[in-house]
Symmetry: none
Subunit: 224 residues, 2 copies
DNA sequence: GGTGGTATGACAGTTGTGTGACAAATCCGC
DNA sequence: GCGGATTTGTCACACAACTGTCATACCACC
């Protein structure tokens, strides 16, 4: 799952972008100022960042420079101004792409894809997550235990990824239902069943799990 | 010194671009057709390639795909059309950036700099990719299994190249439709059929593929 | 020992994938 | 241009894999 951070002060535009990105299959979250955006990116780095140039306080160019200083996440500028000078300045500041508002969401999506294909996100995002002798590769759609590939189904894979993404933290059945299945409501037993099946595949001793542990009354977590 | 190849059929525009690029400190040379451009790039690779979309004979999109197949040079599209669909298609075909004519030379220069800064030297730009006893020669447009040439059709070859380019990574049917066929929408079963045909040709046991594997619910990938 | 929460096996309905047949489109030698 | 060969895309069907539900057994904690 690719996470995108949208830094944009106009609430309406930010929300619209977030919705559209979600629709395209991204995990998207927003920040209303450069300061907030930088803080969020430091705490929980996204795979791509969208930045508006006109921001209150710290402006977009400074925001780009700071983001670029911290890591090399692909940065896409979204601006109302199509002045050549702005475009050049943004690219010089460290942006990777520049889009003029109003943004066609398909184009944005394609540009994010193109950026990722260039090999940037491979470095920054989830290449392979490792838990002891358990490896999860989101790109390859593959799980390995002790070096051996383990065949998991799509749902199991999603579940595992979701747990891995919040490694060490408990996720309630409700949260898992929401994030893996997209159900706002539903039978929580469903989660149990899939957790059980996943254990059969990834645990040495499914009855006494080492990775995918139950927290009675709380939910499940993937042990680091 | 950075060398730039300009593929553009209009003599006046090509000359103007070449002059402007020289002025900016680049070494620039031109080609009046996709075929000529591809030949020159193969003989004496430039550091960046500028491509016009409307070309006689082989068009810009095909030109981009071929360039991308051969190596990993940054490609900038320069086109008179600012249609979103064209932009998306060009990026999907493998372009790294897109500029609408008339081009502001300063912007072009900045974009070339930005592209270079991104550090492209990531992907294996080997002409021949090897997977076990399977060889894919992009240059020669040739596929071999256990040393023996395998006759694949153009579509099959493109599909195989696309998968090889992202070796080990899952590509969804949607992604393959877009990248191999250029369809933004369409019947995903089309991919299945061609994957099936490709398997008949490159796999020892098509029913139990070693290279071109299915990831149920996710897509296909070419196993390393 | 009782109670609420959790694990697990079986089952039927659903979905996803492989494949052969066929017609349209394209290529190619003449 | 022309006609045959090849390639391409569509469709339908069969089969295998997966999903969600349920019932039952199990366990931890009070």
């Amino acid at each position: 799952m690719t996470a995108v951070l949208v830094i944009e002060d106009d609430d309406r535009i930010r929300l619209a972008l977030l919705l559209a990105l979600e629709e395209e299959g991204y995990t998207a979250y927003g920040a209303a100022s450069a300061e907030e955006g930088l803080r969020r990116q430091r705490q929980d780095p996204a795979d791509n960042v969208l930045v508006d140039l006109m921001l209150p306080g710290l402006d977009g160019f400074d925001c780009i420079r700071q983001l670029r200083r911290d890591d090399d996440v692909p940065i896409v500028v979204v601006s109302a101004r199509d002045d050549t000078h702005d475009i050049v300045a943004a690219l010089e500041a460290g942006a990777d792409d520049y889009l003029v508002k109003p943004v066609a969401i398909k184009e944005l999506s394609a540009r994010l894809r193109a950026l990722r294909r260039r090999g940037r996100a491979v470095v920054t995002s989830t290449a392979v997550q490792v838990f002891g002798d358990l490896e999860i590769s989101a790109d390859a759609g593959e799980v390995r235990r002790a070096g051996r590939p383990v065949a998991v189904t799509r749902t199991e894979f999603r579940l595992l990824c979701e747990l891995a993404q919040h490694a060490g933290k408990v996720l309630s059945r409700q949260q898992l239902l929401q994030r893996v299945w997209g159900y706002d409501t539903g039978d929580e037993r469903l989660v149990d069943v899939h957790v059980g099946r996943l254990r059969q595949k990834i645990e040495e001793d499914p009855g006494n799990p080492r990775y995918l542990v139950t927290l009675r009354g709380l939910g499940y977590k993937l042990q680091r």
